[in-house]
Symmetry: none
Subunit: 220 residues, 2 copies
């Protein structure tokens, strides 16, 4: 039996989803909540398998609630629900650790199916969300799995190292300290790598490093 907590600030929505789920032979709604705080309390009290969580709620919104539940009660899987698939919601929810993200116009058997999937440890996204996530994913590192970039091979080891540090925002003096060489040397390296890559200045070098995948966002 899959035990579920339903959290939504609208009485009718709670009742509707609750009824759909309770009608399933293998799903049981053990509690309801009208805001984020209540949701967390309900999770603490009942330790459900799945928390069905609306994004927009008073007192504490669903994103913050999801964040806390995912940290404090990792056994409870969080399935987010929203009326509109605003981008930020999705990304925030996924970063918060949610297992899924559905729109409220979901068909009733898809909802039950989703709860079962999430309870089984799988993930689930509404089709439109999947679409955006894929395009976002595909766009970010175009062909990342294939080539490390030929241009970078033109640089000497020291130049590549310099570029890496430069792309992290270090000044020439800081790079010099990091590499334990003089600032003059760093300037030479920078100058050489700029001309090799045909870049105007260090700002362009930073842009290049990110675009070329020589530096990856989030790996600071």
């Amino acid at each position: 039996m899959i035990r579920v907590v339903v959290a939504d600030d609208q009485e009718l929505v709670r009742a509707g989803f609750g009824m759909i789920l309770d009608a399933q032979p293998d799903i049981e709604v053990v509690a309801e909540a009208a805001d984020g705080l209540q949701a967390i309390e309900a999770v603490a009290a009942h330790r459900p398998d799945v928390l069905l969580l609306d994004v927009r709620m008073p007192v504490m919104d669903g994103l913050e609630a999801a964040r806390r539940v995912c940290v404090e009660y990792p056994d409870t899987k969080v399935l987010m629900l929203t009326t509109f698939d605003i981008d930020d919601y999705v990304y925030d929810a996924l970063h918060a650790g949610a297992s899924g993200f559905l729109l409220k116009d979901v068909r009733r058997d898809d909802l039950a199916h989703g709860v079962r999937l999430v309870a089984a440890g799988e993930a689930l996204l509404a089709p439109s969300v999947t679409k955006r996530l894929i395009s976002e994913f595909a766009a970010r590192r175009p062909g990342a799995s294939r080539r490390p970039h030929r241009l970078l091979d033109q640089l000497t080891a020291r130049e590549q190292e310099t570029l890496r540090l430069l792309a992290r925002g270090l000044s020439n003096a800081e790079i010099a300290a990091e590499l334990t060489v003089s600032e003059h040397t760093v300037k030479t390296h920078v100058s050489n790598l700029l001309s090799k890559l045909q870049l105007r200045d260090r700002v362009h070098a930073v842009v290049f490093a990110y675009e070329a995948g020589a530096v990856v966002a989030g790996e600071a």
Copy 2:
């Protein structure tokens, strides 16, 4: 009526999927193919709405076929099928432009449902694939979309615009030209956004923009 081409090197698999889909009142299998080249030819000949494409095939594998179809016949949506959800397959398929990725153990109504979704321009992933994509996505930029957006909201419209251009490598003079204001004004904006975001110089601003997702690699 959704017109589908089924491509798989195994006769039985083609027949099975073909039967399932043909049994649907709104889906019609217009051709079959036993390898990647045949698949492309079939797409060229029939211009189907959906191409159901196995990954592992002789002559030309499904990934390469997907890549070509997505470029040459963008109206035909590609739905990949595989027995095992090997990571690289998924990522390559998504980069190739596939609209979805399903495992062959898919239930028959899920398959039909998937074809309809893809034909409608939505995307679709097998649950286990969704799970990995999400964790990959969430890991890459930990909390990227939330916190920085807060910070970005501190900036005025003009400052955000300035940051966007700055992060593309434009000099103050170039930004001024782009915004049709004086360079002095740009300097003021830059100065303000640097202090608001507590960044040292424009190089740090570029790094920030990428790390925060205010600028996304590949969207130059």
